[in-house]
């Protein structure tokens, strides 16, 4: 794909997700499915593939991959998440997926053993993302597709700091969102070349977002006030704006993908 075509594709995806985000304003689950679909499309699983989703959480990406690949493994550090994942696989009647508890920095897999390696919405929890990315590349076979999906922070350091400060109150386990150039750089530094980047926005009504959160000191009103205060000057670079229903803002997100050289 030429960069011009890739850019057009990026815009198409972005347009699509922007429209869907509007339509799905009140249906976050449907919205989450769209992100899963985007990760799977970027991974291009083939019928003979062995795939892995790292930091798989409740298993939605792994189960979606399992419908198209030969076998899928989901790895997560939290056993309780893996029980949810196993329940999802059972509900969907999937027999070709299994689960391992493990650490993304030290996965229990041999070198070069997966045809697809994905990781979604985890890198903002990591202190040393380069080490985790190196592990993704290590377990990927030559020719494997590697997909890294996460929200990203503004290139403006002040706006990035504001977004991260807000999100650390929302979820104290957040380390911080990385910038898109940083995430691209992980691919380039690993010899994968420039990744294909598919951007999308995960859009929230601030009141819904706050209601679903477990913020520091249970201070939901404080969290909402921070988001509302970011509208003036868009200080988190989140597109925050007032609507009749309240403030709406977005996590700028991207799925970055590349093929491991053979």
């Amino acid at each position: 794909m030429t960069s011009e075509v890739a850019d057009a594709h990026d815009r198409a995806i972005q347009d699509q997700f922007t429209r869907q985000a509007t339509g799905f304003a009140r249906a976050q689950e449907l919205h989450a499915d769209d992100v899963v679909a985007l990760v799977v499309e970027a991974a291009r699983p083939q019928p003979g593939d062995r795939a892995i989703d790292l930091a798989c959480g409740p298993g939605s990406v792994a189960c979606a991959l399992a419908k198209r690949a030969r076998h899928v493994t989901g790895l997560d550090a939290t056993a309780a998440m893996l029980e949810k994942a196993r329940d999802l696989a059972a509900r969907e009647g999937l027999a070709n997926v299994d689960w391992r508890a493990g650490d993304i920095y030290r996965t229990p897999f041999a070198d070069n053993c997966f045809d697809v390696v994905t990781c979604r919405f985890a890198f903002h929890h990591l202190e040393t993302p380069a080490a985790a990315f190196a592990e993704m590349v290590r377990i990927a076979a030559p020719g494997a597709r590697i997909v890294l999906c996460d929200a990203f922070a503004s290139d403006d350091p002040q706006k990035a700091a504001a977004l991260n400060a807000m999100d650390r109150i929302r979820d104290p386990s957040t380390v911080g969102y990385w910038t898109l150039p940083y995430l691209r750089g992980l691919f380039e530094a690993s010899g994968l070349g420039a990744p294909l980047v598919q951007r999308f926005d995960v859009s929230y009504l601030a009141t819904d977002f706050v209601a679903k959160s477990f913020p520091l000191n249970d201070d939901r009103a404080g969290l909402l006030a921070i988001i509302e205060a970011s509208v003036d000057g868009d200080t988190m670079d989140s597109g925050a704006h007032w609507t009749p229903e309240g403030v709406r803002f977005s996590f700028r997100s991207a799925a970055l993908s590349a093929v491991k050289p053979g």
């Binding site: 056993a79 029980e83 196993r86 391992r100 508890a101 650490d103 030290r106 229990p108 041999a110």
Partner: protein, 71 residues
Amino acid sequence: MTEERKSVAAAAGIDPRLLEILVCPLTKTVLRYDAERNELVSLAARLAYPIRDGIPIMLPEEARRLEDDAA
């Protein structure tokens, strides 16, 4: 992997093909399946990783340290 090891693993509900790619997270060496204890043993790391509800727990902090006579 030997045929014997495959059949033992399969009997325990562990897919033998996946045991082939599963290694010790610390040493990246192969694991031996201990059917009696339902553990995956890394002789190199002197650790036994438990399998709970069919899910291998490949976290060193959750593993049992092998005694000299248990390997």
